[in-house]
């Protein structure tokens, strides 16, 4: 793979190699770091899925209670990272977390290389290079590529999906309809993103629906079959999770059960989540689930429905002002991407001292802050000189804006940016091309004439973005 890449583009090969070298150096620093937080849940899912394969091969019945407890759990996490870890635990059932981190590093390296190659083919060399610089050289992004959190991989797969959708829509203008196989690949990519990080569902749905509309607008009936196949592939792969989670929790689960509790914890009164205070000595996530299970036992209702009612109760006193204020706080938290820099910190070391802390925290922020302003600018400028750029602009903006709705619904954390971050480098290149084109006023190449509809769509997105930001700022004041 590397050989072919080298023949194709030496600069890109060097960029990928540098990114992977940084990863190797940082891995050496955290190789002995045990899994912590939600990583434990992904580890458990990986172990249980590996055991499922083992049982099936040995013609034993699967251990359904182990699967329910460790793969479905509370229904919070779709098992994308469990699937990523399962092959590792299939062959190394008793391996330590350091080896598992090495496996995760290899998987994220492979997906990164695939994303770069796919971007080079679908969007061009500049975008592929951008991906190698941002986010791939942000130290804290590299650190997170060695963890079991799915946010980062979801972002990389989303980049592949986005590039392929852009390619498909561009080809459609020339009259080339995607094949049913193309549709199936797009559907599989979409559901992969969702399995890795269910909060990216909205982004996948938004770019998929938009691309489908553009395809149907250009190809009419010829677009129907590939679009239907994409949707069918997506649903067919979603169903095993939805059905198993619904059966295990005895309630209806589509993707995740965490939304009501996260809304309650983010915007509601945390001392009212359990219709009063939850049991002490636990967390804002576990205590409500334990309580919901108790209410479910007393009433015979499903715990997921109980969690919904708990959330409604805790949010009774939410006002427009309190909601907007919490959204602003969430965005502040979202931008503090250096939080995971502490992964590089030895347990007994001061929190923010030493070279590695400087690298992981300060350097990450120094790259992230200016790039995030450029991405914000990219969301506002309107590309109106080339159809190819317009398609990318619309899909990229819709994808980014959908991902940026996360602080509107969930307590933000310092790793959530890694999903949107994968699109950040692309947005900066798009901004550059749009500005250069606007200055040069070069005529588009034949077949690449701009679409008035896509210009209007971008204006609508820009105005909507400004309106929402201004609205939240006014309400929060």
């Amino acid at each position: 793979m590397r050989g072919r890449l080298a023949r194709a583009d030496p600069l890109l090969t060097v960029a990928v190699a540098v990114a992977l070298a940084v990863k190797a150096v940082l891995f050496a620093r955290i190789a002995d770091l045990p899994f912590r937080g939600d990583e434990v849940a992904y580890h458990d899912a990986g172990c249980a899925l590996a055991n499922l394969v083992r049982d099936l091969v040995a013609l034993r019945g699967p251990d359904t209670s182990e699967l329910a407890r460790n793969v479905v759990g509370n229904g919070w996490f779709m098992p994308g990272m469990g699937v990523v870890l399962a092959p590792f635990y299939l062959l190394a059932p008793h391996a330590g977390d350091g080896w598992a981190r090495a496996w995760l590093g290899v998987v994220s390296a492979v997906v990164f290389v695939l994303a770069v190659r796919s971007t080079q083919r679908t969007l061009g060399r500049g975008y592929a290079l951008a991906l190698c610089l941002f986010p791939a050289l942000v130290p804290v992004w590299v650190l997170l590529s060695l963890t079991a959190y799915g946010d980062l991989l979801a972002g990389l797969v989303l980049v592949i999906l986005l590039g392929r959708l852009v390619e498909t829509v561009r080809s459609a203008r020339a009259g080339d309809a995607p094949s049913p196989r193309d549709g199936a690949v797009l559907g599989v990519l979409g559901i992969t993103v969702v399995y890795l990080r269910s909060s990216a569902s909205l982004a996948v749905a938004a770019v998929a629906v938009l691309a489908a509309v553009l395809l149907v607008a250009q190809l009419r009936r010829a677009a129907a079959l590939p679009v239907l196949v994409a949707g069918a592939a997506f649903v067919a792969l979603l169903l095993p999770w939805s059905i198993s989670a619904s059966v295990a929790l005895d309630d209806r689960v589509v993707t995740t059960t965490s939304v009501p509790t996260s809304l309650a914890n983010t915007f509601g009164d945390r001392s009212e989540v359990c219709f009063g205070p939850c049991d002490p000595g636990s967390t804002v996530w576990f205590a409500p689930v334990r309580y919901a299970r108790e209410v479910a036992r007393a009433t015979g209702q499903g715990e997921v429905g109980v969690l919904d009612e708990m959330s409604d109760h805790a949010r009774e006193d939410v006002t427009a002002h309190s909601y907007a204020r919490d959204v602003v706080r969430n965005f502040d938290r979202y931008r503090r991407i250096d939080g995971f820099g502490s992964l590089l910190k030895p347990p007994d070391a001061p929190y923010d001292q030493g070279f590695w802390q400087w690298l992981a925290r300060d350097v990450s922020l120094r790259i992230f802050t200016p790039v995030s302003w450029l991405v914000a600018a990219a969301l506002l400028v309107v590309s109106r000189r080339r159809f190819g750029d317009q398609v990318l602009a619309v899909l990229l903006k819709v994808g980014l804006l959908a991902l940026l709705t996360q602080p509107f619904a969930h307590l933000a954390g310092s790793r959530y940016w890694t999903t949107a971050g994968a699109l950040g480098g692309l947005a900066v290149v798009l901004l550059g091309r749009t500005v250069v084109d606007a200055v040069r006023r070069a005529p588009p190449e034949p077949g690449d004439e701009p679409s008035r509809l896509l210009t209007v769509a971008q204006w609508v997105l820009s105005v909507a973005t400004v309106t929402v930001v201004a609205g939240i700022a006014v309400l929060a004041a």
């Binding site: 083992r54 049991d279 000595g281 804002v284 007393a298």
Partner: protein, 148 residues
Amino acid sequence: MAGMVALAVAAVLISPALGRAVPSGSYRPDLPPDPLRLGCYPLPSGLVLDFPYQVRTDGNVDGHRLLTLQWDELDPAEVRARLDAALARAGLPRRAALVTPYADDAIVRGTVVLHLPVARLASSDPACRDPRTTKRFPPDWAPSTAYG
């Protein structure tokens, strides 16, 4: 490609001989037993709560047992009536139960605070020593409201 598939098939085939992976199972909170049904600290004889409830806190205050529950699904009048009957059977006054309905019409309808004679631990079940079951929480357990 064929080589990779063969490798994957071989890995799957030998996997049962390598032992089982051991998930921690720690991300699914256990459902604690109902402490009243388990009889950790029994209710006075005759006091049977025949409505859906969950115990929220239990403990002794000023020589009395203060047991706080929430009831589910039923109207306040219905719960009051059932409680009155249960208290009468146990020979306790009506004022031993304080019923406070919630304003919203959700599945959990309100709080019942029972003022009862002090009860002693009456079960050797290990769960009866777990505050998550008995709802007799040590005072140094922090509220579960911090984001972490």
